[in-house]
Symmetry: C2
Subunit: 123 residues, 2 copies
DNA sequence: CATACATTCAACCTCATGGTTGAATTTAAT
DNA sequence: ATTAAATTCAACCATGAGGTTGAATGTATG
């Protein structure tokens, strides 16, 4: 069904690396839209929007149902799962930093009334 | 401290959209590495690897500590957080599909002994 | 000081992106 | 049968990615 090969991951991250395309996905999360509808609010030609859509399609993030002369695009978030899983492997790293920051802040809170004490420095 | 503007998100996703760079991050998750060490296992020139590193740096994903003639690179996963948060907004969509699939499989399991019954189709 | 090492810089190549415009295609409506 | 609408296609342009090579830079080391 859905493929999780590395090149798919490439395509997904690449597709997400553009604000126009992220905005498109955001609107498709509410409802399916035609190419014209997707392009309407954008300050670019229809052809340009069409290219963005093709890129999203290539990444598997949208699916197109051709209804007569109009093409209905609907979100398929599934490929994002792979991206999320990839990121999850790094979650502990930024959590670590956040917790450090947190500890630092609390240490300063505790030191508020007392003679200024700097956060302990790691050996 | 850490910025979460859209262009930063662009840079992060773009940086992740390349297997060479993802591999670099993977190795930096184990330990800090010099530019040369990062480049060593790659089948490309040092200059090419250096460019990848610069791109990762631009996205804030690695930080460079210059120690004499060697540059030590260390992972900074923090900017990935923004990417994760963005993706999280879409999690329910793929979860939805996964649950549908799951339900479908269970329905087929239950129908295994009985006369073939197709999964109910939504109105 | 001379030399080797770690890295970047600069110039170049090829190809993909992101945008344009105008023509072509397919389908719907009059 | 025309005409209008929805979309893509093709050609073009500017810019950036990803790679190369060779020279330049800064730093250790004999």
């Amino acid at each position: 069904m859905v493929e999780f090969n590395p090149s798919r991951l490439d395509a997904v991250f690449q597709a997400l690396a553009d604000p126009t395309r992220r905005a498109m996905l955001g609107r498709l999360a509410k409802q399916p839209l035609s190419v014209g509808e997707l392009a309407a609010p954008l300050e670019m030609s229809l052809a340009a929007a069409s290219k963005h859509i093709k890129l999203l399609e290539r990444a598997g993030l949208i699916e197109r149902e051709i209804q007569g002369r109009m093409h209905l695009c609907r979100l398929n978030a599934a490929p994002m799962h792979a991206g999320m899983e990839w990121l999850r492997h790094y979650e502990r790293f930024w959590m670590q930093r956040l917790h450090q920051l947190e500890a630092l802040l609390h240490a300063e809170d505790r030191a508020a009334g007392k003679p200024t004490r700097k956060p302990r420095r790691r050996s």
